[in-house]
Amino acid sequence: MTTAAVAPATMPERVLWKGNEAIAEAAIQAGCDAYFGYPITPQAELLEWMARRMPELGRAFVQAESELGAINMALGAAATGKRVLVSSSSPGISLMAEAMSYMAGSEVPVVLVDVMRGGPGLGSIGPSQSDYLQLVKGHGHGDYRVPVLAPASIAEAMALVADAFELAERYRTPVAILADGALGQAMEPVVPEYREPPRRPSTWQADTARGRAPRVVKSLILRPEDLEAHNRDLQAKYRSIEEHEVRWAGESLDDPEILVVAYGTAARVARTAIARARAAGLRAGLLRPITLWPFPTLALRGLARHVRAVLVVELSAGQMLDDVRIAVEGLAPVAFHGRTGGMLPSPGDVVTELRRLWSITEPVNGRHRPQRGRRPVPTEPTLATGHGEQLDEGVAAEDLPALAEVWR
């Protein structure tokens, strides 16, 4: 068979790619017009890739004088409607909080990548998930949220970059991609496939005032009545995001006795641990949030009713744990296992925790289960099974006291 310059009929060739570089190239292929950053480990290769590629393509690359400079340049560029990427790691992300709040307030789309490292402070350069509370709960000041996407593989990170741009522009909001040092530094084979989200028409962008009235992009709204109205609009937008953009993936969820909730690298450790536990007869399953905000609250609640316990695994001292407990509402005991400072839990550690948890909990049927009053449960969209799947119904009947045994 002769091979001319035609696309292969079978699977495209895979390439071995480092997470940071794959994210950078995915952003370029998603139509990123401008990148602003400042070097920091373990994210540096992302900036380095952009430094080489963006000028080649005639696009904007600026290594700013600091993270503050980078994020404020991003604010300016994104206010003109350009597709803008910013990346950093934990200490640098802290510096960017103020401008992120400004972008949320002035409804400017931008994609921010955080390749998390150990904290607090300058901490270590090891992998960590200790920026969860920072990004998922708002990051800067003011009443706002940003969608936070958490990839667990390099291939998924590439896909989520394009999705992040699309979300950012659809909802006119900053969007964060929350990765960790392990994902940034690891290499995996990926199929170099990309997606460039369609551009939206210019309706708000401060791109040009030629032939029309000037537009203003700002977050300063001094009249309290006006600012409250703006906040109401923002909250309505956030409710819409919560309703439509929840994503999660499940594994071994047919019959789990213990449900593990973990994201990113922690979810991969959990996956191996679950396989090992199942081989030994302990039925565990995994719920892996892909959007950390909006959190898959209803999916988790539906599953929590049917398990004897929930185990949260994180590379932190327990940050997503809070959202898990809110979702579980005492329907099952919630336990936690985490490592910090750049340390990773091993699959063996997680198996040990699963065994321990199994031994001190009761089967669902033998458990005194609290119930809550009936209330409307909106439809939960998912990534794994498509949108609009109804997961579980609100449990009827009167309110009963919450379960006593809820562990930290």
């Binding site: 373990p42 392990a182 690891a186 290499m187 991969r268 959990a270 191996t272 641990a273 990773l344 699959p347």
Partner: protein, 185 residues
Amino acid sequence: MTERSTIFAGFGGQGILFAGTVLARAAMAEGREVLWIPSYGPEMRGGTASCTVIVAEEAIGSPVVDQADAVVALNPPSLAKFEPVVAAGGLLVINRSLIEAEVRRNDVEAVELPCTALAREAGDDRLVSVVALGALLARRPLVSLASAGAAIEAIVSAKRPQILEADLAALRAGYEAAAVETVPA
């Protein structure tokens, strides 16, 4: 083969990350799943560098391993750190050119070769990790020797084609030395 993990460890500059990358690329070329992850922490500055390569038939979960199926130790601190990590029945490749300590484990297979000396014969001391990779593949055919050679060629040709021959010679030297060495009872 289900999932096989290998830890490469040595001084920075011994080509630890390179050897791991060669294995990862070769495994990818053979259609396997693979994950390569370096220890990118502060220990890389002057101390011990390491990387873990997991080769599997199916999607890989954890990037960290409790135990490694094989450990390649190119300097004394690497043996001290990773000898306890080798799974029972696993493989330990030891660079006798630099490591004097005896192997304490009696439940692992040890391949003890003067990797640095063999690398020098092949053309350059710095090919020590490639020698060790050859030795690893002689005892644990995670990928074929041909695939490893092709991976080296793909990586090296782009940047430093002048060292390709020495690289391939080092790979063969390690493979042959480990293939002829008798396995301790």
